[in-house]
Symmetry: C2
Subunit: 190 residues, 2 copies
DNA sequence: GTCTATACCGAGATAGAC
DNA sequence: GTCTATCTCGGTATAGAC
């Protein structure tokens, strides 16, 4: 059991994942959380403030997840594979990237937690790739920053493609394809 | 100058690109096209039918674009680079993939043109990659179907990442990173 | 803190005149 | 074919009692 405020945030997190920001209404949040209108507008100034709180929690949660993977002491390629081949439901969408396409994301405040998550993720991946280059296991001609964009995009785009083709497996294949390229490259170098 | 019906479709295409399906209202379409409500509901049964007509046109248009690239007589890697490095506005989103995340895309009818586009694109890329394998320029261990998912996802995810970080350049880097991997791989094989 | 009542607006569509 | 008037519903929020 948690307090009303937490319930609201929790329900908003679910709905942001399922429906995004624009398509989620306060009423849906209330229904799911069991709270009343009064509580909602007592704890938050409105939909936007609640959404930001929810996205902040979600970002922290996801950052903790990838840090667990990237801070392990496996080989860099195993870490990356570990990250890329995590089980994902292609039809549901990324728990945070999901909302990036919503028109309301033009608003600066809403973008803050989103930006924070992706910045940190990119930094982590770029660092990993630079270590690989230092060890001579990735060609010097490959730019770690550029490739980190590719890695992140593959995951995010996998969700989009899965939904477009209505095939939950697309995202897993997309990630597998990238891993295959990296493994092959590392094999040929050896 | 075109007739009212075409104007409506044309405006809907723009709005679907800019705002997606759920966030686009009939009123916005009317305002942009200069048509009135009467015309709208005379030519179409409603928002959904208009959107499908618009997406159908858009799909045809985009299919023609990639066919122009893939049916040229360049080397497969040049074709792929040509496709991946096309100029794209990362902040606007894919002209058709943009709407894949909208909640309303759960409706079967709306997904038809979306699915048609992505299916054909994937088929074209897969074919290209298989030719590369036939020529021995891509390792047999690489699965063309799997890798085609990666290619498409990189583009789609590039748009998402660009919007998340609010950096129009992310998508271009993501695509460049994938090309770099493929070029490197092809170099080492030689 | 939480509830119910109320208000305002725009989405999406229909009706019937021209 | 196109126009204006009208309708219903839900999104988003405020007011004031408890």
């Amino acid at each position: 059991m948690k307090d009303t405020r937490s319930q609201l945030i929790s329900s908003m997190k679910e709905l942001l994942w399922e429906r995004g920001y624009d398509a989620t209404s306060p009423n849906q949040v209330l229904e799911r959380s069991g709270a009343g209108k009064g509580s909602f507008y007592h704890h938050f100034s409105g939909k936007q403030e609640l959404a930001i709180a929810a996205m902040d929690e979600r970002a922290n949660e996801l950052i903790a997840e990838f840090e667990l993977i990237f801070h392990s002491d496996q080989h860099w390629l195993d870490k990356l594979e570990n990250y890329l081949l995590q089980p994902r439901d292609g039809l549901k969408g990324c728990r945070i990237g999901r909302i990036a396409q919503d028109p309301s994301m033009d608003e600066l405040l809403l973008r803050v937690p989103l930006k924070r998550y992706f910045s940190q993720l990119q930094q982590a991946i770029e660092q990993l790739l630079n270590q690989a280059k230092d060890k001579g296991e990735l060609p010097e001609s490959i730019c770690a920053h550029t490739l980190s964009c590719t890695v992140i995009s593959t995951v995010q785009g996998g969700f989009v493609m899965s939904r477009a083709l209505y095939d939950p497996d697309c995202i897993n294949m997309a990630c597998q394809g990238l891993i295959d390229l990296l493994r092959t490259l590392s094999t040929l170098k050896t």
